[in-house]
Amino acid sequence: MSVAGEQNQRGGINVARLLMSFGPLLFLAALIVVFTVLKPSFMDPINLFNITRQISITGLIALGMTFVILTAGIDLSVGSLLAFCGMVAAVVAKGGTANTLSLSTSGTQGYGWFAALLAAVVVGAAAGGVQGLAITRLKVPPFVVTLGGLTVFRGLTLTISNGGPISGFDASMRWFGTGLIGPVPVPAIIFAVAAILCHIVLRYTRYGRAVYAVGGNAEAARLSGLRVDRILVSVYVIVGFFAGLAAFVLSARLNSSEAVAGIGYELTVISAVVIGGTSLFGGIGSVGGTVVGAALIGVLQNGLQFNNVSSYTQSIVIGLILILAVAFDRWLKSRVRR
């Protein structure tokens, strides 16, 4: 309904357009400046790489969530699905649920990192697909289906792991979470590559444009001959895939898959997407925005921790800044348009 205020206005002056799309980016830059002034070691490359590694998990899921939200959908199940895929990956990597507590790898028993990765993304994509079908076939709103999924996947995770963690993967798997290429953490590289691919898909493929169309007006998209239901299912497959990928990276990083992983991630992930300028009403948004949104949250958390702000105060500040970042973006857009 109130799309008007969020329209991706084009055709104005170019500089204005540029500025406008940089609202969250400007805000991010300001945050970085503030934190650096407060404590110059914030800019230490190690810290910056820490931040990139920290945002890569929720960032990956946020990429998939961007597709979903562009269609005016939502996926609340991603946190639980992350835990579920992580557990599946762990079971595959360890060759079963037995011998799960050893921190050192169980050697010959497992099926190796590739099988684990494959299992995680396939299970994630399949779970997303099932939810997508429930949304399109049963006509249940995404909010409800994925809220159900949130509960179901958590229950499944606890069931297969019997509540406990599964720990201890071999070095080749752990590399995906803890390795470096040059000075850059592997998770950050995975995130960057995935972001670029997603950007290309959304901006330069027919499929990507169809995603925008469905989100802009599903009925009109249908009348224009798009297979709306297939596209809707596909975006849930995509976010599921990314939840699986993120789960693999997280398990590799923590050397452990936990049944309680990812609790509350859905809100962080959705925040990243929305702060990045993607409209919850669909049809408007970009991958670049999501990356900036994820970075903004990551920098904020790291910077506050870095300055030893008490955790209660952290909550308050983070909440306020989320609101302010979006408000600033809106304000900038309204200014620039005049």
Partner: protein, 525 residues
């Protein structure tokens, strides 16, 4: 422009045989049959709610018929979705605009078939260039990279027409494509249709402007209450309007479209606008900016406002109504200067506005007719404790239902189940219930059938007779001429001329509407 007399008639392209469609509690179509051949323009006519759009939606795969058979190109045709229709070359322009507001004009035109370059990636450059050429065919010169949400209704309609024309098609279905257009664009469209006819494309054309239909259609099929009321064929001589109307409404209609007597205007000046200017609204950057409008409106008069698309008529209405911000100028109501900062203020002062975009600005689609009707008069229909006086509310609605002959099942029925014309009547009733001092109606008969149109005209005249000052914006000159006591013309945010209704004719108005002198700042007092 009669068709070249075809020596051997083309084979039938599409035949509808005994199609029936039921909705919950309503039979929209009952045993309708018709056919169309390549190179033929078939007019589909009927009153509001006659079932025209329903039939067209069945043909374009939006919904299945309840029973009946359709044959396309000699084969059974049962489209499961709009894609199926599209694949066979059946292209539809829907009555309710079906563009995607968040996407650009170019993307809307190339939806699902964006031109791709190397690697199969979308080529934005080619999309922009190609779409610029496509929209130019219908006379649009806007930047194709503009988002559709920034366009006026008329421009959106043109984009939709352009898109349909750019698709390879054997049958084009047009459901009221001209309802938002002014004369110039209509003429352009009609000539395009004529060209398509020569290329052996079949066209099904729905309109409530019967002159258009008479001018372009080879044959007409008339629906009444979901049933076939008859066919009219040009082979047996030109089709006359009264004949169409008689078939549509089922009675001889002599006084339809008759021009009501011009009344002597005795009233005082009720609304006076001086030097009205607006600023560019960031939310609608392409909107026309008013550039010093002066206008007077007397009690008991109907002031017609004519102009081409984009002349700023809607902006004028919205500015007076407090819906847009005013940069400069004064508005005086009954001698008192007013400055409505919001529609609520304007309404409180006794001003009403029937907006032009019914779907987005007027109706609450999912809500019942009753709340749609009373939403602007909640104070009037509630008691001192804020409780709705539902009895009073229903009685009032029943009164207007009779007065405006609104066809509806019950007060609880969702308004989106009504035909467009009946929706419009409910919106009119919404404002009549307030008994305003000034009523601005923007395209009040868009999509309204000929019978109801006359009713609306009569309602406007009655309102004026009660002393209400009516300002009527319309893109249909015959309508402007039929009801206005006085007419002003606009262009590019300025008033370009005015005349008494009795003096006016289409030629004079067209000339003023096209007037483009900088000094054309005509005064309208």
């Amino acid at each position: 422009m009669p068709t070249a007399e075809a020596a051997s008639p083309e084979p039938i392209l599409l035949a509808v045989e005994g199609v029936t469609k039921h909705f919950a509690g309503v039979t929209a179509l009952s045993d309708v049959s018709l056919d169309i051949r390549p190179g033929e323009i078939l007019g589909l006519l009927g009153e509001n709610g006659a079932g025209k759009s329903t039939l067209l939606k069945i043909l374009s795969g939006v919904m299945p018929p309840s029973s009946g058979r359709i044959i396309f190109d000699g084969a059974d045709y049962q489209p499961a979705s709009p894609q199926d229709a599209k694949r066979l070359g059946i292209v539809t322009i829907y009555q309710e605009l079906s563009l995607i507001p968040t996407l650009t004009v170019a993307e809307n035109i190339f939806i699902g078939r964006a031109p791709t370059g190397p690697l199969g990636l979308v080529s934005w450059r080619r999309m922009e260039e190609d779409s610029r050429a496509i929209i130019a065919r219908v006379g649009l010169t806007i930047d194709p990279m503009t988002p559709v949400s920034a366009l006026s209704v008329a421009e959106q309609q043109l984009v939709e027409i352009a898109r349909a024309l750019s698709l390879k098609s054997r049958l084009i279905i047009m459901d009221e494509p001209t309802s938002a257009l002014t004369e110039t664009e209509v003429q352009r469209l009609l000539s395009i249709m004529d060209r398509l006819r020569r290329d052996k494309v079949a066209i099904m054309f729905v309109t409530h402007r019967l002159e258009e239909a008479a001018a372009i259609c080879d044959r007409m099929t008339v629906l009444r209450d979901g049933r076939l009321a008859g066919h009219l064929d040009r082979d047996n001589g030109p089709i006359e309007l009264p004949a169409i109307i008689e078939k549509m409404v089922g009675r001889a209609a002599s006084e339809l479209y008759a021009r009501p007597a011009q009344r002597a205007i005795a009233g005082d000046i009720r609304l006076s606008v001086r030097g009205l200017r607006t600023v560019r609204d960031p939310e609608a950057p392409h909107a026309i900016v008013l550039d010093g409008v002066d206008i007077d409106l007397k009690a008991g008069e109907i002031l017609g406002v004519a102009g081409l698309v984009g002349s700023g008529r809607t902006e004028l209405a919205r500015a007076i109504f407090g819906a847009d911000r005013i940069a400069a100028g004064t508005i005086t109501l009954d001698g008192r200067q007013i400055a409505p900062a919001s529609p609520a203020d304007a309404i409180a002062l006794g001003i009403g506005l029937v907006p032009e975009d019914r779907k987005h600005q007027a109706i609450f689609a999912a809500l019942g007719i009753l709340p749609n009707f009373s939403v602007a008069s909640l104070g009037h229909f509630s008691n001192g404790f804020g409780f709705m006086a539902e009895r009073r509310e229903r009685d009032a609605l029943a009164g207007f239902r009779k007065m405006l002959s609104i066809r509806m099942a019950s007060a609880e029925q969702a308004i989106e189940g009504l035909s467009g014309g009946n929706q419009q009547k409910v919106i009119l009733a919404r404002w009549l219930a307030r008994d305003p001092k000034v009523l601005i109606v923007d395209e009040p008969t868009r999509g309204v059938d000929v019978g109801a149109k006359t009713e609306v005209h009569q309602i406007l005249v009655q309102l004026a007779a009660r002393g209400i000052a009516v300002m009527m914006i319309s893109s249909e000159l015959p309508e402007v001429l039929a009801v206005s006591d006085r007419i002003v013309t606009m262009r590019r945010g300025r008033i370009t001329g005015q005349m008494q209704g009795v003096e006016a004719n289409e030629e004079k108005l067209m000339e003023l509407m096209a007037l483009d002198r900088q000094d054309a700042k005509g005064q309208a007092r």
